[in-house]
Symmetry: C2
Subunit: 386 residues, 2 copies
């Protein structure tokens, strides 16, 4: 006999888990269905929370969302830590954007002007100011900018804490893949069917399966928003055991290519990230690893000496306008939260709040109102550099 909960969430990435945890915290019974919770794109991510450096030309509404999302992070992290006793690695580290050549410098200056016009907190840095903040930087660095409002979280510690928090809040975690939504005779969502053939009935179905969302069947055409896989590689290195390698996130522009290095308190460093459009392929490619190492060592020559722990690739759910899809759909009792692209971690707390509010009769937070799941978007791709 099929089991019933108030809510079933398809997808246990950072969005699905955060939404499940928040929703369970408001008294609803919740099930999350995912073949490997936390081990998709969330596992590959670097955990940058970058409201300022991710704010770029032509995406002003998104910049507002990013700032509102970042504001929720300290509270979200401390509530999760209180609930679980687990450290999520959330911390205020700021980003230092650095330029390697004159064109890179001009590009950072232009973006800085734009960010300042949006009222974001950022300031120009000379080359020596960059090196004062991150002494390991290459002497070739031409200058850059400081974004003190950018933070970081340990993406893996966070999803593990969310799994723990979900378990503590009574969320049922099912290791399986949702293959379709089951509709009742009125066409409303009534549950999900999994790869192993189980039906999980629920009062509301939440689709939060990242790039897997469009592969979920059973729905009329056009209901699931158009997300596409944007492959990203990250590398994990160990600079020094038990000691932070450098104090700020480094976001480099290296002869026009983007490369970031996120330094964790335990001495590991995450280098990211490529952006490739190659369908659902998550194989690690030699060329991507080479390119990340190539750029990272130009920014911080010490990278050569560091231990390479892991090369991994994942798929970001890209959307046509680089913005997420969050909220109800044209199918009754079907809610969507996907399309978070490069900003899944930054947007997880506000998205989770939106889903939990919506499911308990509340309003979706204003900064997310422009990014409804049923909005019309251009189907054409709008690519951005990584």
């Amino acid at each position: 006999m099929a089991e019933t909960t108030d809510v079933v969430v398809a997808g246990g990435g950072v969005i699905g888990l955060a939404a499940a945890w928040e929703t369970a915290g408001r008294g609803l019974s919740v099930r999350v269905v995912d073949p490997a919770p936390g081990h998709g794109a969330a596992w590959v991510a670097a955990g940058m929370l970058a409201p300022v450096t991710e704010s770029t030309f032509g995406e002003e509404a998104l910049a507002g969302l990013f700032v509102a999302a970042a504001d929720r992070w300290p509270g979200f992290a401390s509530r999760l830590q209180d609930a679980t006793g687990s450290d999520t690695g959330f911390r205020t580290c700021g980003s230092v954007a650095v330029a390697l050549d004159a064109s890179d410098r001009a590009a950072i200056d232009q973006l800085l002007d734009h960010q300042l016009r949006l009222g974001l907190e950022a300031s120009r840095l000379s080359a020596s100011e960059c090196r004062a903040l991150v002494p390991a930087l290459s002497p070739a660095v031409r200058g850059g900018a400081l974004m003190p409002g950018d933070h970081q979280v340990d993406n893996r510690a966070l999803v593990l804490a969310l799994i723990e928090g979900c378990a503590g809040a009574g969320v049922k975690l099912t290791s399986d893949r949702v293959v379709s939504v089951s509709l009742d005779r009125d066409g409303a969502a009534a549950g999900v069917v999994t790869e192993s053939g189980e039906l999980f009935q629920a009062g509301t179905v939440v689709l939060a399966a990242g790039v897997g969302t469009p592969q979920i069947g059973g729905l009329p055409e056009g209901v699931v928003p158009p997300v596409r896989p944007v492959k990203g590689h990250t590398l994990r290195l160990r600079a020094e055991a038990g000691r932070e390698a450098f104090p700020h996130t480094v976001r480099g522009l290296v002869h026009g290519r983007h490369c970031y290095l996120v330094s964790r308190a335990d001495g590991t460093v995450v280098i990211g990230a490529t952006s490739e459009e190659r369908g659902y392929d998550t194989r690690v490619q030699a060329g991507a690893v080479h390119s990340l190492l190539d750029d990272a060592r130009l920014l911080l020559p010490a990278v050569d000496e560091w231990e390479l722990l892991e090369c991994i690739a994942g798929l970001r759910p890209g959307s046509p306008d680089n913005a997420p899809f969050v909220g109800p759909t044209s199918v009754a009792r079907l809610v969507v939260a996907t399309g978070h692209y490069r900003n899944g971690f930054l947007l997880a707390p506000i998205t989770a709040e939106a889903i939990a509010e919506h499911l308990t009769g509340g309003e979706i937070p204003a900064p997310l109102a422009a990014f409804r799941a049923d909005r019309r978007v251009e189907a054409a791709r709008s690519e951005r550099p990584s």
Copy 2:
């Protein structure tokens, strides 16, 4: 009570396992002690059997040994395959040495002249002849040489087949580390003591622990030959599933740096190898991975598209004159087989034959006679490019 065998071998790398298998095949009881048989330097190697391309200036006696060693390979591989039913991946593929710039070309030409003077089989190739042999080569390749006598074996398949062959021949495999040799009251070797405190008595002790050999205690000074760890990184990639990526081993000289690519029948490719003197450190370093990818993609641009399966590092047992130490020592009933440096796989069959002959009252094969374990060698390092 301590167990006794005719022979105890300290070290289950390609040398120790091959020696144990050959010795057991002649009727002696043998034990091999190794914490992880086959998983040291033998696991990291690429399995090139390169009598010609490894023959260089000033090492004429070694060149003779390499050719004699290569001659034993077809028989050794087919006996092992007959005994176990396992394919070792031994095959005749030849090497194509290729030059990326004019200096690289000159260096290959010089070495080719030297190899021809030694009577080795090799021939000069124009750039277009190189590309005819390996169509995936970069258009930048300047020419090179063909060494049809170079072969390959799948290093991992081979050590697994040797473990199987040893088991089939009654060799006892003990997962432990030898920490010292036990001597009897006459100062002759009588067994080994392991990390977990066990004593394995034996009629003869064979030290074949690669770079671990000098760490084995209990012996008078100067008995164990002076081998040192020479770190090497290799990468494993998948070019295409189930199909050989290119037909010959590619040995590139890339702006003075050496880089080789070994193509297996199943579509995997091994890229090697760095040479670093860093003590007993086997961590994978980002700079080494970058440098191997950097050189490999200059030789074969398609490398960028290949899946990167594994980055790994191991320690070759380097010797002062780049030659192995094989045979009896000044301690009675103590035999050594180490110092095989870059040529452990090539030299394994002739070394195993030498050990088995010596242990059964025979003679060490003539080509190995110059490389006795108790010969005097300069203690100074004699470094070679990788």
